[in-house]
């Protein structure tokens, strides 16, 4: 299995993602610079966290129009797997690869802490190693993670089983008090309709080693590798 990580000026968790992917695959992913129009032939593209283009204009807005992302989008439409984490989620959502939008956190502050995530579905290539309703401990670190979509869009997402993760209590209770950013229905991650694209605000790449305080994120990478190998 081959994976690539797209790097923009201002990306800053690309190396964290590289460590996680390399650990799951057993070989290093390819780092693709944002100006490249040629994407190497890969099975998975990861769009990492950070502050692409300094978050100027609007988070993810400038990166969403980069040449490389047009190519990522075209391949995703043909079925290639794409995962966007944090700023990567913002970018692929801005690019129209996922429904909805990521607004500023409802408390208007950056938030970095461990959260609990409830796995909403396992019928896909990303979360298949988890069990449904499993509770994961994974950190968040963002200023604009407040997911929003209009009522019609929300209806479609729910009807199509497109919610990947919801913020929850350690015991799995999904309630507003466990939501770090005010996102709609505690949504922490969503799929596209065909479930080959996943966007999520939390950082599974920072939960792959006991020294990081949790290894719950690693099964996500293992699951992708398993499905795509």
């Amino acid at each position: 299995m081959k994976a690539a990580i797209v790097v923009f000026p201002g990306s800053n968790r690309e190396l964290d993602a590289k460590v996680a992917l390399a650990k799951a695959i057993g070989s290093e992913p390819i780092m693709v610079w944002h100006r490249d129009t040629e994407l190497p032939k890969v099975d998975l593209v990861l769009v990492p966290g950070g502050f692409s283009y300094g978050d100027y204009l609007r988070t993810g807005a400038i990166a969403a129009h980069s040449p490389v992302l047009r190519e990522v989008k075209a391949r995703a439409e043909k079925g290639m797997a794409v995962i966007g984490i944090c700023n990567g989620f913002q970018i692929i959502t801005e690019a129209g690869m996922l429904p909805g939008v990521l607004l500023r956190n409802s408390h208007l502050k950056f938030v970095c802490r461990n959260v609990h995530l409830k796995v909403a579905t396992t019928q896909n290539m990303f979360t298949q190693r988890y069990t449904k309703d499993q509770v994961l401990s994974v950190p968040v670190a963002h200023h604009d993670g407040n997911y929003f979509v209009d009522e019609k869009g929300l209806g479609e997402i729910e009807a199509n089983d497109q919610v990947a993760f919801r913020y929850c209590a350690p015991d799995g209770t999904v309630a507003m008090e466990h939501n770090p950013n005010g996102s709609l229905r505690n949504i922490a991650g969503i799929f596209n309709r065909t479930k080959n694209v996943l966007g999520m605000m939390p950082h599974p790449e920072n939960a792959i080693d006991p020294l990081q305080g949790s290894t719950d994120g690693f099964a996500l990478f293992q699951g992708m590798v398993e499905a795509l190998s």
Binding site: N12, F51, C112, P139
Partner: protein, 737 residues
């Protein structure tokens, strides 16, 4: 040359005394141009020249076999083994942060990171030490909100985790907050970059953000007292752009991996002036700059403005001539402005040209060597009386006192602050904020660095010598408590107006105490910064010599954190308890008295106790560890319990009850102490080992339950402790929104 007539008023506006100006005339042999005067003004400002502090700073020990670079470069460098080096420094951005908290704090963080990557190191951790006025001062909440958002805004975008720090409150900071930022970087020990220019005819390259009119005379502002109209100085505060700095970081590190750079210096305080002067002075060369080539943000900028601008995110470098093309490619990749703006000469002069006209032609070395040096008069700080614990009434309700302390401004949880900082990016944060020292592992290694900052200003005010020694010792203790070996420090000396003998007395006392502690603990100073004139309308801050400490641990998996780990473990106190209440938080918060001599630091005991604790941790015998500091023993235990959700049962030993009043035992701030937990089965052996090593040890109690049970002194539920501990910041800050 410009034809401006330099009047005494113009000289005064530039912060130069008549005597200093006389020296300028001597050096120049003529009246300087305005540009030349501006250059003297910033180079000889307190901020750049350390003219009041240099004679004292020399007393600090700066050498050890592991020190690669001591004070005098952009940052200090220590050898951490395996061919790697840690590069670090702390720097203040106090004055700008008071005037414009978001940008002031943000550019402080940007500046210190630049200092570190200028040396060839990738920043891997940020720390900040903050001091604010009273919580209910009308400006405090606005300043906290802005400073914290500014630190987060810059560090988060750079992708460097902010892993440790401190926040204190005191009325003396109402008009002068302190924002001290520290960065720790990692470099190959044989690839450190320095600022000394070399190679006659080598090109001088400017790279980074364009130069604007922001921050002109920032260094001079930072060298004067505040008055009520200081907010009118807002235009002297620079505006930060972390995105450009991130590009600059990546471009510089990419260029440093080639063999292109001869010398490099960031443009920080005093911008292009200090960078060009310092590079050429250190290299013993002259430098000629064509200011028409400097990338500018605004039209019509004069030579004076270009040289004194403190626009951020700019770097000056001397390249090997054949490396121009490599550099161009890298800067273009990162979409950075750059230009060849000058050349190294053999004249020993700084020559500046603009529109074909010579705007300045001045000898370089006197700007540095002949900078004024003052032996300011000082008076020693009067000793404070000892406060006898028996002279104070013992509170009837100890649990209520504990709740009050743990929820107070200085002892409450700082979670509201550090959750706004990305403390996890890079994926190597092993010990997070909220403990004694943060620990970050090094890429691909089991090894890591332990990082902390500390200072107890109320001790420094009561007794500068003891306070200075305590600040150094507490960082050493924090690092030790995590299991790491402390190696070196950076200092950030924040004081009032040095022209007042009592302030210089505080400075002198703190330096002497720091020097003694550094020597006793083999813990040299490798970099630092001095911030004077932290006064408003003649009222100075508490003396605040903030210490940033760095240590190394061979295996981060063996590091120990403060939360209790399991029920049924034995709690031990290492170190001697005398029940010292002078200058304690208990005395201030409960009895309303800010007085008395601070706890003395016994440096021999400090070292003996610390080395013993570190040895125990290395042997894997310690399950939790916390240094016993602000608030004393009971607060220490409460913090360990709150962070774990595991309670404890604790009885004051019978042999103590007779000699020390309960409140002194529980809340006294005796130094050199640690609270540890060990498996019950190991307790006997650990106690015997301590006794054999001559280390005082006391069995305090046992972990377990959902409350802190104090025997005959009552009990308090963990839920109540936690709620009180966490409430202070959210309550304070929500009132602001």
């Amino acid at each position: 040359m410009s034809a401006n007539k330099i009047t005494p008023e113009i000289v005064a506006e530039h912060g130069l005394t008549p005597d200093e100006y006389k020296l300028v005339l001597e050096i120049m042999g003529r009246e300087p141009s305005m540009t030349e005067l501006g250059i003297f003004s910033v180079m000889w400002s307190e901020h750049c020249s350390y003219k009041s502090s240099r004679v004292w700073l020399k007393k600090l020990p700066t050498k050890a076999p592991w020190v690669i670079q001591g004070p005098g470069e952009n940052a200090g460098v220590i050898d951490i083994g395996d061919g790697e080096a840690a590069v670090f420094k702390m720097e203040s951005h106090n004055h700008p942060s008071f005037i414009e908290p978001y940008q002031g704090a943000a550019t402080g963080v940007g500046g210190i990171m630049r200092d570190v990557f200028t040396m060839g190191a990738r920043p891997i951790a940020n720390v900040n030490a903050l001091r604010f006025g009273e919580p209910d001062d009308p400006k405090t909440r606005h300043l906290i909100a802005g400073v914290v958002a500014g630190i987060g805004g810059y560090g988060n975008c750079m992708g460097v985790p902010t892993v440790a720090g401190e926040v204190n409150f005191h009325a003396s900071y109402n008009g002068n907050i302190l924002v001290n930022a520290m960065t720790v970087g990692l470099a190959d020990a044989d690839k450190i970059f320095y600022s000394a220019a070399a190679g006659l005819g080598n090109p001088v390259i400017y790279v980074g953000a364009k130069t604007g009119r922001d921050g002109i005379h920032g260094a001079t502002m930072a060298s004067a007292e505040f008055t009520d109209d200081s907010e009118e100085k807002r235009p002297t505060v620079q505006v930060g752009d972390p995105f450009t700095e991130k590009l600059l970081l990546e471009a510089c590190l990419e260029l440093m991996a080639t063999d292109a750079i001869v010398a490099i210096q960031d443009m920080g305080a005093a911008g292009l002036t200090s960078s060009s002067v310092e590079m050429s002075d250190k290299g013993g060369l002259g430098i000629e700059l064509d200011l028409d080539k400097v990338p500018v943000r605004e039209t019509g900028m004069t030579a004076y403005e270009i040289m004194l601008s403190e626009s951020q995110e700019r770097m000056l470098m001397v390249l090997k001539p054949e490396a121009r093309e490599i550099a161009r490619k890298i800067f273009e990749k990162w979409e950075l402005d750059f230009a060849e703006i000058g050349v190294l000469t053999d004249t020993g002069h700084l020559v500046l040209k603009k529109n074909g006209k010579v705007e300045a032609d001045m000898p370089v070395s006197p700007l540095v060597d002949k900078a004024p040096l003052y032996e300011r008069p000082w008076v020693p700080t009067p000793k404070q009386p000892e406060i006898a614990a028996s002279s104070l009434p013992v509170p009837a309700d100890i649990p209520a006192v504990l709740l009050q302390l743990i929820g107070s401004a200085d002892l409450s949880s700082r979670r509201w602050v550090w959750e706004q900082y990305d403390h996890l990016v890079m994926g190597r944060t092993v010990q997070r904020p909220g403990g004694d020292a943060a620990i970050v592992s090094l890429p691909g290694k089991s090894k890591g660095l332990a990082i902390t900052s500390d200072c107890t200003p109320r001790y420094c005010y009561a007794d500068p010598y003891q306070g200075g020694a305590q600040a150094v010792a507490e960082t050493w203790r924090n690092i030790t408590a995590s299991g790491a070996k402390p190696l070196a420090i950076t200092d950030n000396m924040n004081f009032g107006n040095p022209q007042r003998p009592e302030i210089m007395g505080q400075f002198a006392g703190c330096i002497e105490g720091m020097a003694a502690a550094c020597k006793a603990l083999d813990y040299p100073v490798i970099s630092g910064n001095v911030s004077l004139y932290n006064e408003t309308n003649g009222k100075g801050i508490l003396p605040t010599p903030v210490i940033g400490g760095v240590g190394v641990i061979a295996d981060v998996a063996k590091s120990v954190s403060i939360p209790f780990k399991a029920s049924g473990e034995t709690i031990l106190l290492i170190g001697e308890t005398k029940g010292h209440l002078g200058a304690s938080i208990y005395l201030r918060e409960i009895h309303g008295r800010e007085e008395g001599a601070p706890p003395p630091v016994d440096l021999a005991a400090e070292r003996r106790n610390g080395d013993f604790v570190r040895g125990l941790i290395e042997q894997g015998k310690v399950t939790a560890s916390h240094d016993c500091a602000d608030g004393g023993l009971l607060v220490t235990l409460a913090e360990m319990a709150i962070s774990s959700g595991i309670g404890a049962t604790f009885e004051i030993a019978a042999e103590v009850t007779g000699s020390i009043p309960a409140h002194a035992y529980l809340f006294g701030e005796d130094q050199g102490r640690y609270v540890l937990t060990v498996a019950a089965a190991n307790a006997g052996a650990v106690i015997a080992a301590a006794q054999a090593a001559g280390v005082p040890v006391t069995r305090l109690g046992t972990t377990g339950g959902d409350r802190l049970d104090l025997g005959k002194h009552g009990a308090v539920a963990l839920s109540a402790l936690k709620a009180t501990h966490e409430a202070f910041f959210p309550r304070l800050m929500s009132a602001a929104e």
